[in-house]
């Protein structure tokens, strides 16, 4: 067993974990954060995507001990003050989900993508989301949702930077 200390969705946790425990299992089974799901086990589907220190990571492809001392954000930690994150809002409004199983991972990946490239073209969104599989929607509305959220996030960034001036 190895002791790790990790901040997840703003809360600090210290736990003894087996060194080979995957981050996703630590999140789901130890912390009960079942919003992050497992789709494929082989780092192909992206359903388990979370942020580690702000960057997207497939949590089935990372050990819990590798998250020691770092900050993990899951789908359960991105809504603020009871309001949905613009990406959550957009997935909701654009009907960018059916069974919803891919949705947490899609949203986490999309937030990272837009953070990296706020003006991503449709082409770039397709490419950037390619590692996340959806078996239900046919992806059309997912692309639409990312585009819509990117617009809202750009607006928010602009207004907050103005407010800061």
């Amino acid at each position: 067993m190895t002791r790790i200390s990790v901040k997840v969705d703003g809360v600090r946790y210290s736990d003894d974990v087996e060194p080979r425990t995957l981050l996703v299992h630590y999140l789901r089974e130890t912390l009960g954060k079942v919003g992050t799901v497992v789709g494929c086990d082989t780092s192909n589907c992206g359903a388990c995507t979370v942020h580690v220190d702000g960057r997207s990571v497939k949590s089935c492809n990372m050990l819990a001990v590798q998250a020691d001392g770092r900050e993990v954000t899951t789908i359960e930690g991105i809504a603020t003050d009871g309001g949905l994150h613009p990406m959550q809002q957009a997935f909701h409004e654009c009907h960018a989900l059916q069974c919803g199983y891919c949705t947490p991972g899609m949203i986490m990946q999309a937030i990272d993508l837009v953070g990296e490239n706020p003006d991503a073209s449709e082409e770039e969104i397709r490419e950037g989301m390619e590692g996340n599989l959806c078996r239900c929607t046919g992806y059309q509305n997912i692309v639409r949702a990312v585009q819509q959220a990117a617009g809202v996030m750009a607006g928010q960034a602009a207004s907050s930077s103005q407010a800061g001036e």
């Binding site: 589907c45 359960e76 989900l97 949203i107 996340n132 599989l133």
Partner: protein, 794 residues
């Protein structure tokens, strides 16, 4: 307009609403079955001992060593089964087998305090096998006469003599692949035992009633001892219709034996190697056309690859035989169908349920014969459409063919097919190594379960004293938006705002004896039942309202949360409260059965379908002549969903169905090891998402336009709607046929392209290479390369 189909003013049905659980999904709060175990105490985890052989007798099973592993609590074997050792409905699927029939089949299950303990324990179980002869491919099964279930024939007229008289006849064959469901959520069950010994199983099941029945028969108890609940599924697509029962039974058996909750959750490789898939088929055919290219006769024999047990293979085959005609009138027909028995997973329901396989045969025939007839494929298709009043080969009168023509014309004009065909010819003439293809294909898909008895639905509607409403129905939610539609139906029927209505998870103790949520029929059946329940309640409320408002009963209307009669009105909640005080029953069980259908499975004749759903798609692809790599440039779809109950949901189903169909036909390549190596034979070699190619964002059409057919009210169905789950999958034939045409463009005019399915880039390369070589027919062809030419003019 019928009472069932008529909509009131300002209905909630028809509104474009997001999925009812969308907020839960985007925040990660939506619970799936396997999310429950971390919140349950003392759960045991299950791990299967899987067979390494495609076919073998189990000569000895030694489980003692497993108990040496710390944390192993129990090994479940056949001796533990108090009831029937079978996980299916046909008594051919032992839950704990003494003869294994496919690689990966579970021989027994180990329960542990942790999943890891169960896994290590399973590795210690010793199984001795005596390998037996195995059959892996359909071709081997045909050679060995290895079949299961009944052989069925759809017959009309005399196909043989019509073929003899036909102006043109062609013959050929095709073998095409199945498909893995790859629902993103793998199979999961969690069973607990109550203080009274009753079993509660939460399961990712599309068919809770059958799961309940199988659990009960394995446990040797009555169905009333078992409750099955399905919160929601992370996709089903038919893969959770018949397949979840065994896993639920293992969990339930473990829970009754240990008194502790038992969790079964397959990891992806287990799911892929243990559960059934779409059937692959082989078809051999002879087809006849008249001088004008009208189909005059078809004789074909379809052999499906059923895998090791029957499961749903017989009804899947029946639907395949009933969809060979697709949208085309063929006067003389003989369609024979049989199910091969092979040593693979037991193939099962998958969106379309045989319909796509039946249609593929005919779309393939048309695609191959058009160049030989010298007729453009789109023209050949259009020329053979049914007209109203003609009957299908199995005797059902075809209606609404005008819709198919309208959809066809709409796609032709909005997608500018005329203009683009010209542009495409120019492009192909100008490019030697890149060619484009453009194809348009129709879909006609029968709605209802072929098995008439399954066409019934039930619902339970409660109106509480404060005027809020809770609905239960027999259908399950797997992402298709059924619950969204059912909420809309209830709100419409009661005339209350959507916010007043909530829906509770599907449970067998709320609505019993339900049919599988399948055959696209979920909304038709359960919607009819919910509407019935709501109307019973309104019928009881109406006299109360009339008395209270002092108006004639027949003047009372319910809309927007108000009860109105002429100028007068009162709030819904007030009426409900008044009715309660007057001792009026405020809840009702609703029921619906589809009228006017009948089917004789012996002679494959009758009117099995309530109606047909129609759709048309046009696709344009571009193919690289060096590699066979291709991309889909544009797709246009017009699809008939009746008067949509929920347009966002329906368009989502069309897009998702189309992409899943394109996956089946072009990308998804299930591979089984056919070698004689005893270590490998029968193994599924595509055991994970890293080897089984699923459609991802990079294969999406560059442009996808979807429109719902307008003026499409459906008389006999709830609020004028039509089923939408399965039919759009078959719109993807347009992509396959466009690929065929692009391949043809590499060869001389009149070359018939034989294209494998799935049409992977590799298959496309061989097809276009064959076309290229058709320019040089004199050169003897190395037989080991490319395909034998299978279409010949007789």
């Amino acid at each position: 307009m019928s009472h069932l189909s008529a909509r009131p003013e300002n209905p909630v049905v028809g509104e474009a609403l997001p999925h009812e659980s969308a907020v839960l999904h985007v925040t990660g709060r939506a619970l799936y079955t396997d999310d429950l175990h971390p919140r349950t105490k003392d759960v045991l985890h299950a791990w299967p001992v899987q067979s390494p052989h495609a076919h073998a007798r189990v000569t000895q099973l030694e489980v003692c060593a497993a108990y040496e592993i710390p944390g192993v609590v129990r090994v479940l074997t056949a001796g533990d089964v108090p009831g029937v050792n079978d996980s299916g409905t046909k008594n051919d699927e032992p839950l704990f087998p003494d003869e294994v029939c496919f690689v990966g089949q579970a021989v027994c299950w180990v329960l542990g305090e942790t999943l890891e303990a169960a896994r290590l324990g399973a590795a210690e179980v010793r199984v001795d096998y005596e390998p037996l002869r195995s059959i892996v491919t359909i071709a081997d099964a045909i050679k060995a006469d290895s079949y299961q279930g009944a052989t069925r024939t759809v017959r009309r007229g005399n196909a043989m003599s019509a073929l003899a008289r036909a102006a043109h006849t062609f013959t050929g064959e095709i073998t095409f692949a199945g498909q893995e469901h790859f629902y993103l959520e793998t199979h999961a069950s969690l069973a607990t035992v109550g203080d009274d010994g009753r079993v509660f199983v939460q399961s990712s099941t599309q068919h809770p009633t059958e799961t309940q029945e199988i659990v009960a028969h394995v446990l040797g108890v009555g169905a009333h001892e078992v409750t099955v609940q399905c919160l929601r599924m992370g996709g089903g697509f038919g893969g959770k219709e018949e397949q979840p029962h065994g896993f639920a039974a293992v969990a339930a058996l473990g829970a009754t034996l240990t008194g502790r909750p038992v969790r079964v959750r397959l990891n992806r490789t287990q799911d892929l190697t243990m559960t059934g898939k779409r059937h692959g088929f082989h078809a051999a055919w002879r087809v006849g056309f008249d001088h004008d290219g009208h189909l005059v006769a078809l004789q074909t024999t379809l052999t499906s690859d059923g895998g090791w047990s029957l499961d749903l293979s017989e009804p899947v085959l029946a639907r395949a035989l009933c969809h060979v005609d697709n949208a085309y009138w063929i006067p003389d027909v003989e369609i024979v169908g049989r199910v091969a028995r092979t040593h693979k997973t037991s193939q099962t329901a998958f969106r379309g349920f045989g319909g796509p396989q039946g249609m593929l045969v005919t779309e393939d025939i048309i695609g191959r014969c058009a160049p030989l007839l010298g007729i453009e494929p789109h023209e050949l298709r259009r020329r053979n459409f049914y007209t109203d009043g003609q009957t299908t080969p199995y005797g059902q009168v075809v209606h609404q063919t005008e819709r198919l023509v309208r959809a066809w014309d709409q796609v032709t004009s909005t997608a500018e097919l005329e203009r683009r065909r010209g542009a495409l010819a120019g492009f192909n003439a100008a490019h030697e190594h890149v060619k484009r293809g453009l194809a348009i294909t129709p879909v006609k898909f029968g709605i209802s379960f072929n098995f008439t008895a399954m066409n019934q639905g039930g619902a339970l509607v409660h109106v509480y004293r404060d005027g809020t409403v809770l609905i239960n129905h027999g259908g399950t939610e797997m992402g298709q938006g059924l619950h969204t539609k059912m909420l809309q139906v209830a709100a419409t029927a009661l005339g209350v705002p959507l916010s007043r209505v909530r829906l509770a998870p599907t449970r067998t103790d709320k609505v019993p004896n339900t049919s599988a949520t399948a055959a696209s029929a979920g909304a038709d059946l359960n919607g009819g039942a919910i509407k019935d329940a709501c109307e019973q309640i309104l019928a009881r409320l109406r006299p109360v309202a009339a008395e209270r408002m002092e108006v004639p009963v027949e003047d009372v209307r319910f809309e927007g949360g108000e009860v109105r009669a002429g100028e007068r009105s009162m709030p819904w909640a007030e009426l409900v409260h008044t009715a309660y005080l007057s001792r009026v029953q405020l809840f009702a069980a609703g029921y619906y059965r589809t009228e006017g259908i009948h089917w004789d499975p012996e002679i494959m004749h009758g009117t099995p379908f309530k109606y047909f759903a129609y759709g048309v798609a046009a696709a344009e692809v571009e193919v690289d002549g060096f590699t066979g790599a291709y991309r889909t440039r544009r797709v246009d779809i017009v699809h008939d969903v009746g008067d949509s109950l929920s347009p966002l949901v329906d368009i989502g189903q069309i897009e998702g169905g189309f992409v899943q169909g394109a996956g089946w036909l072009t990308l998804e390549d299930l591979r089984w090891d056919e070698s004689d190596d005893p270590e490998r034979r029968g193994r599924l070699t595509t055991q994970s998402a890293s080897t089984y190619k699923l459609p991802s964002l990079s294969e999406m059409p560059e442009e996808l336009n979807v429109a719902l057919l307008e003026r499409a009210h459906e008389e006999g169905v709830v609020y004028g709607s039509k089923a939408v789950g399965e039919p759009p999958l078959m719109l993807a034939f347009s992509v396959r046929e466009a690929l065929r045409q692009a391949c043809a463009a590499f060869g001389p005019t009149g070359h018939s392209v034989v294209l494998d399915s799935p049409a992977t880039p590799e298959a496309v390369f061989w097809a276009l290479d064959e076309a290229r070589r058709a320019y040089r027919p004199a050169v003897p062809e190395p037989t080991e390369l490319g395909h034998p030419v299978q279409v010949t003019q007789v």
